[in-house]
Symmetry: C2
Subunit: 149 residues, 2 copies
């Protein structure tokens, strides 16, 4: 099994997050699934899928539960944790950028909406509630920035 | 050179965005740089760095310009495009999630602030300006969702 260890030396939480997530974000937006359902939908080799699911469990994004149907052996299902559900903001930001800058010509695969079905976007907001355009926001070094990002 | 081609068959703009960006996001938040500066800061092999920069140029995130200092050969510098600058929202969302769920114990490497230095966050906002918590937002299939994500 080619499962990569989570490298923990980087201080950059952006890099650490991407490291935990890997490339198969489609795993996440499916919500709760049995192993066999992931396998059918994603069409990736079994060992690759198993490695990705294990990485997501280690990162606290998915929780593994076992279940057993009558007469069958024990199997695993995977469920988003609270931390996994909070990734929705990241997914929405990626989706917005990709829809504009990496368009497919087919429209969006996933859309984000409130409970009335109105489209929602992610935006920069100050603590006092002002909405800012991205070019009004600056990236500044944080406490861990000494010695590079 | 081990440069990966950009795979364009996926309809999912989240996957397409991550594909364009790869893992070395630290490249992006540095802003404009000469090749030699990237090499010093990132400490990655020359061929890996060249491949990543080429991928980011292909994806329209960085623009390559050439410059020549007196008596030296022509060299390249790299500059964020408008699309590259718009990735700030994605970086901020990743940074927020990672700071909470993949903390390093050193605090944040990068922080996001308005021009007065007040911290800003990314949040879900409706078209009419209401701020929503992430669990008030649903991921719904978009026009390209037929046949999977």
């Amino acid at each position: 099994m080619s499962r990569p260890a989570l490298v923990t030396e980087t201080r950059c939480s952006i890099a650490r997050t991407l490291e935990a997530l890997g490339e198969k974000w489609s795993l996440l937006i499916q919500g709760d699934s049995r192993y066999s359902e992931f396998r059918e939908r994603l069409g990736i080799p079994t060992d690759v899928l198993a490695a990705r699911l294990a990485t997501l469990v280690d990162a606290g994004i998915l929780e593994r539960r076992s279940y057993r149907e009558p007469g069958a052996r024990e199997r695993n299902s995977y469920h988003l944790t609270d931390a996994g559900r909070e990734l929705k903001t990241v997914l929405a930001a990626l989706n917005q950028w990709g829809s504009e800058h990496r368009p497919t010509g087919f429209g969006e695969v996933a859309a984000f909406a409130d409970q009335a079905g109105e489209a929602v976007k992610v935006e920069f907001v100050t603590a006092s509630g002002a909405r800012l355009d991205f070019d009004e926001v600056e990236i500044v070094p944080g406490p861990a920035s000494i010695g590079g990002w």
